[in-house]
């Protein structure tokens, strides 16, 4: 049976186990005079039976699927005649894929060595047997588990505690999966970065002022040997993010204050979702808005007052990015400002403070941790933003603090390094991982900073 069908069958069995467990606990309760004479509610008995049915079967299923293919391949390879046994890993891979192709029918058995055809045959047979065995074993284990769960139901059985502890383990496993994924990604980035740093020294990467990652592909090619100084990228990122925050923080904060403190409920109920729509606009749309509307406009204005503006400028990208992250600031700030207790405002108003004095001196400081959280979230978003910058700020890695020049950012360079055909072990591609690592560390630091600020204020004011 196919795994999908097997899973469906298992679900039916689990449902059945649940139902029967429920029925049995009710039946046991009846002569005792109601379910309050059971140790746990019928739900827990039913749940316990269902878990007994599902968990062992799923464990076996998972383990089987994880290992059976490796074992089968191993067996097939072992069965090959001495002469055909591959001597290197590469040859082994080739041979295996040949066998698999024959087995799946992509290659006709006549066109290959008869020994390989036989191996393919064996592969198919082993797979069928394995699938059948799996079906039988899983169903059997499910049935035995369900039966065990059903038989053990008794008024004194502490089903509630057992179910609770199993659920706790399941929740913990889910959390572990999330954490392990993060760790896994981090590790892979880290290892690739280490490979990069074997080719390019960390000092050059961290402090170099030149970024031109083109390396010669062939020895006879005319190309520079590549320069991997990341400073221009980080300066570009910093420049654009700063412009974006300069736009987003004041506007976002003021609109949050308006929404939370002054707006009548009707306006608020319309304006808040409208602002949040800004966050839902795809960044590509912002990107071409920036490239086609804002950048030429800035250029025009610049020219009219005699400034030399590049057609793609940090300013254009930063302004549009600022608009994009307004809702991150405003929405979160609005929430925390609204959450400041009314008694706090009353206290200030009762002392004769005006509304804006109250906001500035009481509400705002009280809401500051949350506001900082919103701003840092917006900053992370700005640092990680790619699309707008690709389209509006250009690809030129200029080391400049002039917002009217074209600059490029870390994320944009990662994109350009990895798009197109690439070798995966050249310094150029590996540089992407090193940049990714740096970016990750930057946002990590920002988050730690945010947590620190929030905690400091918490300790002080709660």
């Amino acid at each position: 049976m196919q795994t999908g069908n097997l899973l469906l069958l298992l679900i039916v069995m689990v449902a059945l186990a649940y139902y029967l467990g429920h029925q049995r606990s009710l039946a046991l309760a009846r002569p005792l005079g109601g379910i309050r004479h059971l140790h746990s509610l019928p739900f827990y008995y039913a749940m316990r039976a269902a878990l007994w049915c599902a968990l062992p079967a799923l464990l076996i299923l998972g383990g089987w699927l994880a290992f059976d293919d490796t074992i089968i391949r191993q067996t097939v390879m072992q069965g090959l005649p001495e002469a055909l046994r591959p001597d290197s890993d590469g040859a082994r891979g080739l041979l295996l894929s040949q066998i698999q192709n024959v087995a799946s029918g992509a290659l006709s058995p006549e066109s290959v060595d008869p020994a390989i055809a036989a191996a393919a045959e064996r592969l198919n047979n082993l797979r069928t047997t394995s699938a059948m065995a799996l079906t039988v074993v899983v169903i059997a284990v499910g049935l035995v588990g369900a039966a065990w769960g059903w038989v053990k139901i008794a008024p004194q059985l502490r089903a509630r505690q057992q179910v609770e502890s199993i659920l706790r383990v399941i929740f913990m496993l889910c959390a572990t999966v999330a954490i392990l994924t993060t760790v896994g990604i981090l590790m892979s980035v880290l290892f690739e970065s280490i490979r990069f740093f074997q080719k390019v020294s960390p000092a050059e990467f961290l402090f170099g002022l030149q970024w031109s990652p083109q390396t010669a592909l062939r020895a006879d090619q005319v190309a520079s040997s590549g320069a991997f100084g990341a400073i221009p990228l980080f300066v570009g990122t910093l420049l654009i993010s700063t412009i974006a925050l300069l736009v987003a923080v004041p506007i976002g904060l003021m609109s949050a204050i308006y929404l939370a403190e002054y707006a009548p409920p009707k306006v608020r109920s319309v304006a808040k979702p409208m602002l949040e729509i800004l966050a839902g606009v795809p960044t590509v749309v912002y990107g071409f808005f920036a490239a086609l509307t804002v950048a030429p406009f800035i250029r025009g204005v610049g020219e009219s007052i005699g400034l030399d503006v590049a057609s793609e400028s940090a300013l254009a990208a930063g302004l549009v990015m600022g608009v994009m992250i307004i809702p991150f600031v405003s929405s979160l700030s609005d929430d925390v400002i609204t959450a400041v207790p009314q008694v706090m405002r009353d206290g200030s108003l009762g002392l004769g403070a005006t509304r804006s004095e109250t906001i500035r001196k009481v509400v705002f400081p009280a809401a500051l941790p949350g506001i900082m959280g919103g701003i840092l979230l917006a900053a992370s978003r700005a640092i990680g933003e790619t699309m707008i910058v690709v389209m509006a700020a250009g690809l030129a890695a200029n080391l400049t603090a002039n917002p009217l020049d074209a600059v490029t950012t870390v994320t944009v360079q990662i994109v350009t390094l990895l798009t197109g055909d690439q070798e995966f072990d050249s310094a150029k591609t590996l540089a992407a991982f090193a940049l990714g690592l740096m970016l990750f560390l930057t946002t990590l630091c920002l988050n730690i900073l945010a947590l620190h600020i929030v905690k400091k204020y918490r300790e002080q004011y709660e």
Binding site: P264, P341, V343, M344, R345, D346, G347, S348, L349, G350, L351, G352, A353, T354, E357, K361, V362, P365, A366, Y457, Q460, Y461, E462
Partner: protein, 296 residues
């Protein structure tokens, strides 16, 4: 339960079994009349605040009906009555704190000495500096103890020099009986104090702007008996320089701290008298019912 509902139930004889404390046959409550005018002595000579025919509405819902009352100079007036009868609403209209509630509307004559509180020309900021308020739940600002007390004086520009501000802070804290407990940690956050200390801090904060009237809305309801005793003592001392209106749910507290007591019922002011009179020989049957604990 709402009192009116309770009266209804008593009258129709429902719930007899569940309320054995109330002797229905002897208490023909449905005959309870709301007096046309407040019984007792609502008016005094030369009052600090003169309130006439005050109505307060929340939208279409009238919370206060034609309340007339004087608050005399340097006296403590206690406002008592069952929950929901409008004590807080009335108190908050005395320094226009109700302005912060959009649907709230106040009519009638409300005067602080000779100034009309609801005169359009009246400056709310100045009014609230003259009529301060202490709230039910201690609500210190998330600032240091010092900044909490200095908040009002700074707003109103009461001190020009640092030492003047220091002085105001110290005297206010002393008056609130908190100085000795906090003088070594003036710059620690005010929220780090105990509930009773926080409430005294709020009182210090209020008197730091030298108001003429202090309104207190159940200032002790979140405090333990010892902290409550301290605040009551404090109220006693404050009468020397301030006029106080205090809402309380504790009869003992009203009896201990106030000169006059006003009994509210369903948005009406039923009776005002000397505190002693109210608690020994109440004029109105509703007052009597309330203070003897028959409802409320």
């Amino acid at each position: 339960m709402d009192t009116a509902e309770k009266l209804d139930k008593n009258a129709s004889g429902r719930n007899h079994a569940e309320e054995p404390m109330i002797d229905l046959e002897e208490q023909p409550m449905q005959e309870t009349r709301y007096p046309e005018h407040t019984v007792g002595t609502p008016f005094v000579d030369d009052p600090k605040m003169r309130l006439r025919d005050v109505d307060v509405f929340y939208g279409d819902n009238q919370a206060i009906h034609k309340v007339s009352l004087d608050i005399g100079k340097n006296e403590v007036v206690a406002l008592i009555g069952p929950s929901g009868c409008g004590k807080s609403t009335f108190l908050r209209s005395l320094n226009r704190m109700n302005d912060t509630i959009d649907i709230c509307r106040v009519t009638g004559e409300l005067f602080l000495e000779d100034q009309d509180l609801y005169d359009p020309k009246m400056d709310v900021v100045e009014l609230r500096a003259r009529v301060g308020m202490v709230f039910q739940k201690p609500n210190p600002f998330p600032k240091s103890i010092y900044d909490n007390v200095a908040y009002g004086p700074r707003l109103h520009g009461l001190a020009n020099k640092k030492y003047e501000l220091d002085e105001i802070v110290e005297t206010s804290l002393r008056k609130a009986g908190l100085w000795d407990e906090v003088k070594d940690r003036l710059h620690a956050p005010g929220t780090g104090l105990s509930g009773g200390q926080q409430q005294r801090l709020c009182i210090a904060r209020t008197i730091a702007v030298s108001p003429e009237v202090v309104l207190m809305d159940e200032p002790c309801s979140a405090l333990d008996p010892i902290a409550t005793a301290k605040i009551e003592e404090l109220i006693d001392e404050l009468t020397e320089s301030y006029t106080i209106a205090i809402v309380t749910h504790s009869m003992q507290q009203a009896a201990r701290v106030s000169n006059r007591t006003a009994y509210f019922h369903l948005g009406r002011l039923i009776e005002v008298n000397d505190t002693e009179t109210v608690f020994t020989k109440p004029e109105h049957e509703l007052t009597e019912a309330y203070i003897t604990g028959r409802f409320g």
